[in-house]
Amino acid sequence: MPYYLKKRITDIIINIVMLMFLGLTLLPIGWMVFSSLKSSTDIAIGRVGLSQTLDGRPKIQWENYVDMWKNVNFGLYLKNSLIICGATMVIAMLLSTLASYSLSRFKFPGSDLFSNTILATQMIPAIMYLIPLYIMFVKFTVMTGIQVKGTYWGLILIYSAFFTPFSIWILRGFFASIPKELEESARIDGCSALQVFWHIALPLAIPGIIATGIFIFLTAWDELMFAWVLTNGDTMTIPVGIRLFVGNYQNRFDLMMAAATVATLPLVVLFFFLQKYIVAGLTAGAVKG
């Protein structure tokens, strides 16, 4: 078989496999969007197609997207999620960018121990922290009178603390892949250590920083366990709030699906505009000498 034909066939096979993966990934999302356009009853009875009007024509239940804001306080949850995840992302990125740069470039007493400790923290499952943290939150309030549980900053603190080590670990690789000579050249050109970071290392690590930032935002956006335990009615995030559509007195799966669709939109938009960086970031090697 000639070479180009072989390549053609492998390409086709790879494409088919990729399409299957894509389908598999899109299936639940499609299901979600589709269900959000059906009536509550039709979801409950497991109807396959769209809902119908009384005279038998198919009906798209756009009202779900209006009712979801009324049935529960979805606007508040959206706001809470944006504040908490946004703040977490900013704080974790600031800390981890600086920390990972210094870990990748400078040797100081304890730098190796510090790197390894960061990695070690990742081996403990998050759920192990849940009860101790809850008790700490409550005790802290008892002792100082400062409210922590149920506040924005309480959850932001926890999220930042969780995501910073992970981000440091990822970003360290990005900084390490920037050729040393670039920074040396900048130092000779007249940069102080901080200017080297600002003018050379930071711009070159941007793809990695953005990719990591999005990852943090996504993970925080989806986080349920801590948010459930550590927020209250005023600071509830989307994953917590969305559960209220299914309650003791009514099961509004239709509204839940609509809310889930709305909650997915910011992520889709984020991905859409930044996919260039995400791909570059995930494939590392973003910086070549």
Binding site: E181, L182, E184, S185, R187, I188, D189, G190, K288
Partner: protein
């Protein structure tokens, strides 16, 4: 524009001694080449001058200022890296302007200087490109331009031509020499390429195992190598080395190898007195071992005819390198292309006795 002085400089990496007791004074506006085999400590020396590597012991001065503890940015030097180290996220213009902007020069002056340097290096059309959109030779010129605009006291260059193809390298060598004339700046240039060292350097410093072997102008280094290492390192093919003994008979000194003996010409023999009846290493460059027709102009007392057996030959285009044997000793000679030495055949060659060298086999130092 300043001299650079290294005083008894050492560099240790843990237990590796990368640079050992280097004393070197580079004059103002001088073009000095540091040359030596891979791993001998050239780059380390240069990086210490740049301030990228701490000096373990000793002192380095730029001008009259001791700079051991001065950070690189305050040394007023520019460095061209082997990998060029162009900032990938900046256009050519910004790459060149970066150092000037950091120093807070007015925008107008930055612009003038960058444009002027770009003009002289034929980069004007490329100013809007990113480094990845340039060819190797163009990148190299941008790296030079970035150094030039800064107008530094000292230029440091670490094998700047080694990533270029042979033809471009020759071109850039000429370019660098013109540049040095025009800029009138001190240049310290590191290379492992002896041709670059010979053609570029006003003075050449040969380094081996972190130690400075010899510093002199290229011609002197080539003609009067201080030791066997320098003699062997410079010149291609390498100098022939043959073991033998110095004898004195009837007031005349002669050199006895296994297969041949010749009388050392009287100009040089005074230096041999201390080595009579001792083993020495005789050295002779391939280009001083000729075929008979090419050497007819050489006076009788400087000629030594030797019969050898041809091993094999290398056609070099302009001439032929013949690998021959005199007894067990191997030698390389350089002969004209009209000769046609067949492997295994006998061949008559002529040594130019004005160009002979002797080395002490123990210290490796040159006797003559």
């Amino acid at each position: 524009m300043a001299k650079v002085v290294l005083e008894n400089v050492f560099k240790y990496f843990d237990d590796v001694v990368a640079v050992k007791s280097v004393n070197l004074e580079i004059k103002d506006k001088e073009f000095v080449v540091l040359v030596g085999p891979s791993g001998c400590g050239k780059t380390t020396t240069l990086r210490m001058i740049a301030g990228l590597e701490e000096v373990s012991e000793g002192k380095i001065y730029i001008g009259d200022r001791l700079i051991n503890d001065v950070p690189p940015k305050d040394r007023n030097i520019a460095m061209v890296f082997q990998s060029y180290a162009l900032y990938p996220h900046m256009k050519v213009y910004d790459n060149m302007a970066f150092g000037l902007k950091l120093r807070g020069l007015p925008k107008k002056e930055v612009d003038e200087r960058v444009k002027e340097a770009a003009e002289s290096l034929e980069l004007t059309k490329l100013l809007d490109r990113l480094p990845k959109q340039l060819s190797g030779g163009q990148r190299q010129r941008v790296a030079l331009g970035r150094a030039i605009v800064r107008n530094p006291q000292v230029f440091l260059m670490d094998e700047p031509l080694s990533n270029l193809d042979a033809k471009l390298r020759v071109q850039m060598r000429a370019e660098l020499q013109r540049l040095h004339k025009r800029l009138e700046t001190t240049i310290i240039y590191v290379t492992h390429d002896q041709v670059e060292a010979m053609t570029l350097g006003q003075r050449v410093a040969v380094i081996l195992n972190g130690e400075l072997q010899q510093v002199d102008n290229p011609v002197s280094i080539y003609e009067k190598p201080a030791n066997r290492f320098v003699a062997g390192f410079l010149g291609s093919p390498q100098m022939n080395f043959i073991k033998g003994v110095i004898r004195k008979k009837a007031g005349k000194y002669s050199f006895e190898a296994e297969a041949f003996t010749f009388v050392v010409p009287p100009e040089v023999d005074g230096l041999l007195a201390a080595n009579v009846d001792k083993e020495v290493i005789f050295g002779m460059r391939p280009e001083d071992l000729w075929d008979v027709p090419s050497s007819t102009w050489l006076e009788e007392q400087h000629r030594f005819n030797i019969k050898v057996k041809v091993d094999f030959r290398e056609m070099m285009g302009s001439d032929i390198n013949v690998y021959v044997k005199a007894g067990k000793d191997q030698m390389i000679g350089r002969i004209g292309t009209f000769a046609d030495p067949k492997p295994g055949a006998e061949l008559d060659l002529v040594m130019d006795l004005r160009k002979i060298h002797f080395f002490d086999p123990e210290t490796q130092k040159a006797i003559i």
